[in-house]
Symmetry: C2
Subunit: 201 residues, 2 copies
DNA sequence: TGGTCCTGACTGAACGGTCAGTCAGCGACG
DNA sequence: CGTCGCTGACTGACCGTTCAGTCAGGACCA
């Protein structure tokens, strides 16, 4: 088995272990077992547990990059709404909720680990950049009003992130529902240019 | 020293230890040292580490209850705005940021510990109840429009929580700034009744 | 073709440290 | 004298990390 195949298996095993143990409960033994390999192998490929996890966040990032590259063709209103819907977790997606819970633990650990922190900041920039580019596209095409792109992207992300955080930590869809409806209201009132206005001014 | 004094000291030491170690790094020895007592004493008062932490969250809750009881006299617009400002962390309040980071870890642990989860849900109800009561008061007095109280409280909390989470995990005030400005905009447009409208309809 | 050398992926066992939890006992106070 | 608050020494389990060694296969040479 090549080094790269092994790397992919380890990343997958890390994901699985993170889902059913969380970050706090995550052990090298869990990951090794999940990959059907020995603990020592993990240290053969990554110096420390922290290194492995940094690699894992990198892996997530490139995954995310691939996924957003796919959806660039839709109109901006649709892209923005599907971004919001994608962010929120479906009630029956148990493993995704578990994963984001672990990710939340990981995000909190950034404060104690500079390498984590760096990766997390990179993923934040990617996320913000994505929303900003949707907004810019909408404004350029005349579909959106001329809002402050950076600030608008920031509050949208903060809002959906907060809703998801409360959704997964409190195990209720109450917050995501309220936030989704609210966002749609705000978008329709403040952001989307009505058809009958288009080209008007 | 009475049992209650010791309890308070332990809670304070837990707070301190949580601030500079985080939840993951928190040990019984840290707490004991901070309180100037022995580890065994902690087990004398609380059966397990988890029990101690449940006690700690209870302690936070009653603290929060006392604090909000103070501010009930201000007008609803002011109460709402000061709630938002209070939620957000000042850039130079390092220890408060550290504490909320630890609290974030603790919130994520709710998924693995039913007793934590219960306490956290209680604190969520308290928070939601507080915002809802501000909204209800505003609507009754005619200062606020007749919005859906539960849903509005939910999205406000999700928004400020998300902003604070990103603020403390990414160590940037970018999100909280954007969210504060946005919230003030939304409040003034959708929630607050203008003076010249008052009594009008 | 077959033998030698080397390397990269991988393992099992052990080590060292950490940490929650235990337990026997001690001083002080009512 | 009992019990309440408290301690220090200790234990068992766990977990990241290390290390000596195995094994398959590829390169190179005779």
């Amino acid at each position: 088995m090549t080094s790269e195949e092994t790397h992919d298996e380890i990343m997958q095993a890390t994901y699985d272990a993170l889902c059913d143990r969380g970050y706090v409960g995550l052990t090298m033994a869990d990951i090794a077992d999940g990959a059907g390999k020995s603990k020592s192998l993990l240290h053969y490929h990554y110096d420390t547990k922290a290194d492995l996890l940094v690699s894992f966040i990198e892996h997530l990032l490139s995954d995310f990059e691939e996924r957003i590259a796919v959806t660039v063709d839709a109109p901006p209103e649709e892209r923005l709404l599907s971004f919001v819907e994608w962010f929120v977790i479906d009630p029956d997606e148990d493993d995704r909720a578990a994963f984001h819970l672990a990710l939340l633990e990981l995000r909190a650990q950034g404060a104690f680990n500079e390498a984590f922190s760096e990766q997390l900041r990179a993923s934040d920039e990617l996320l913000r950049g994505t929303v900003e580019s949707i907004l810019r596209e909408g404004i350029e095409s005349g579909a959106f009003r001329d809002v402050d792109v950076e600030a608008t992207a920031a509050w949208i992300i903060a809002t959906v992130d907060g809703a998801r955080t409360r959704q997964i930590t409190l195990r209720t869809d109450w917050y995501t529902d309220a936030v989704c409806h609210h966002l749609i209201d705000v978008f329709e009132t403040w952001l989307f240019v009505e058809d009958n206005e288009r080209g008007g001014q």
